[in-house]
Symmetry: C2
Subunit: 129 residues, 2 copies
């Protein structure tokens, strides 16, 4: 088997963690959850500026954590690997949060104030956030 040095392997392991280890990125990943989300959805879900969200999405894309898919004017983002959510849940547990309190925030659903093609069809009141 290939022998890897500790420094080399540590760098490789740190890369995805570094991309995720920011409150804003965690929030984005939780908002996307196991489904898909367009930027405008994240805009209303998180209440941030569009360009700001795009910047973080770009970082997550570069880190190979997110993949994007264009559909007309919209671009939908999705986790490349659902295990990234497990990583987040694991970290939540380690900081004393219940797995349940996290899972209720993992949101692949519609947002009431969002009018993107995913949310608009349904008008389900959601008392999240």
């Amino acid at each position: 088997m290939k022998k890897l040095s500790l420094p080399k392997i540590s760098e490789q392991i740190a890369a995805p963690l570094a991309a995720i280890a920011a409150p804003q990125r965690i929030a984005i990943l939780l908002a996307i959850g196991t489904g898909e989300a367009c930027v405008c959805h994240l805009e209303t879900a998180l209440g941030w500026r569009q360009a700001y969200i795009s910047q973080h999405l770009m970082a997550l894309r570069k880190a190979d954590i997110l993949q994007d898919r264009r559909e007309g004017r919209y671009i939908f983002y999705r986790l490349k690997n659902a295990s990234f959510l497990d990583l987040i849940t694991a970290s939540a547990t380690l900081s004393g949060l219940s797995a349940e309190s996290v899972s209720t925030l993992i949101n692949a659903q519609n947002h009431p104030a969002c009018e993107c093609p995913q949310c608009a069809p349904a008008l389900i009141p959601l008392n999240s956030l």
Copy 2:
């Protein structure tokens, strides 16, 4: 159940990740592994300056990831929760590394070039003292 906001919860989740998400910290945590290690052990295992290691140890202590125990002149560090290693392994898997290649690096054992009280006994006959 307590209702937590997405920004708040994201910040809490990000905290331990941010503390871990650096190649140096990963290397330290892997070197400590499931056992204990004094600073001098890490010094020889990693080949870094003492003060530099202490700085990273301080960060990990503040993040509540490591705990320390003094024994005479030596201070031994140990993970507060072995699950932090699982977090690292999970991240390794996500970056395409085999779990095995990581586990061989998780090192609670002696280091041949280390003369700290944990390692030395195996190398130096007691009757030479």
